[in-house]
Amino acid sequence: MINYIWFFMILSGAVAAAVQGKLNLVTTAALKGAEEAVAVCIGLISILVFWMGMMRIAQDAGLLEKLAKLLKPVASFLFPGVPHNHPAMGYILSNMSANLFGLGNAATPMGLKAMEELQKLNPDSKTATPAMCTLLALNTSGLTLIPTTVIGIRLKYGSANPTEIIGPTLLATIIATTIAILLDRYYRSRTFDQYGNLKK
């Protein structure tokens, strides 16, 4: 899909430029875009290095495990089909807390481990289970405490107050996540019966 979107943007740009008889617009735009992109990534180094460092301290201090423990009641509410002491639950909790800290690099492997464990509980290995759908709902709505990349890019363009968007962003993700959870519950009850089997 991304291939088509990329092609679509470049092609419509080229056509638009050709119609105006200004094909050189394409070249200038492309080169300028590439240059800006590298500048943005270089600008992101500072905040990423800094944030990864801080978050390693949090990891080494056991804060992720602490957070996972706090989230346990939430997780058992969200994943009623997963037994409390099943390994899947541990990975789900690690995935949730790594996401909250904005540690994408740590969250994804934990999420994939959780999927593998959930797959072991799955009677039909080709079809998603309710718990898998809930885990995906949580991960796609992207609840995180600090949007580091966005702050980094605001910093790069000389924002007087780069962190001003933390509160609004947090509230917006909480709303998106809540809606995701509610919809997940709704569709789950329409798709599965109370024992977690697909309705006919």
């Binding site: 080494d60 007087a160 962190t163 962003t169 509230l171």
Partner: protein, 179 residues
Amino acid sequence: MLLDLINFISKMMLPAILVFVPLYAIFRKVPIYESFIEGAKEGFPTAISIIPHLVGMMVAVAVFRDTGALQFYLQFLTPLLDFFHIPHEVVPIGILRPISGTGSLAFVESILRIYGPDSFLGKLASTIQGSTDTTLYVLTVYFGAVGIKRTLYALKVGLWADLAGFLASWIICTIVFAH
């Protein structure tokens, strides 16, 4: 009241984490400076690894925008957007956000560059970008890893949540930043 709370969170969240994390870690006898350096090493390759993605996306976005193609397509949506008072400039971010995080980031970048990060549009674009994750990518990676073919309602839930995040960002930014 809610406004004060939102602004308070914006102001206090980062400093609170910066003080609390090392404080808690020292208390737990973690060698915090060494830990910081160890973790910080990962930041550099992460930033560098984004370069190919962002160059690819920003080249396409620059061509799409600077040639007037973006304006051309947006005019078809104008009546709908004007009816809901949604700023046109952020629409591509909303459309691309679930498909490609870097793609929407490229549009955020162009808004911050053109209008400035502290303009209303700049803050709105930043909030939309941060408010949700790349639904299609997450679904592909997670279900792909365990070979699930029937994903049932997962995509539907993800996309509705993305729309909710987009609309919530716009409403919240209007309340918090518009005056």
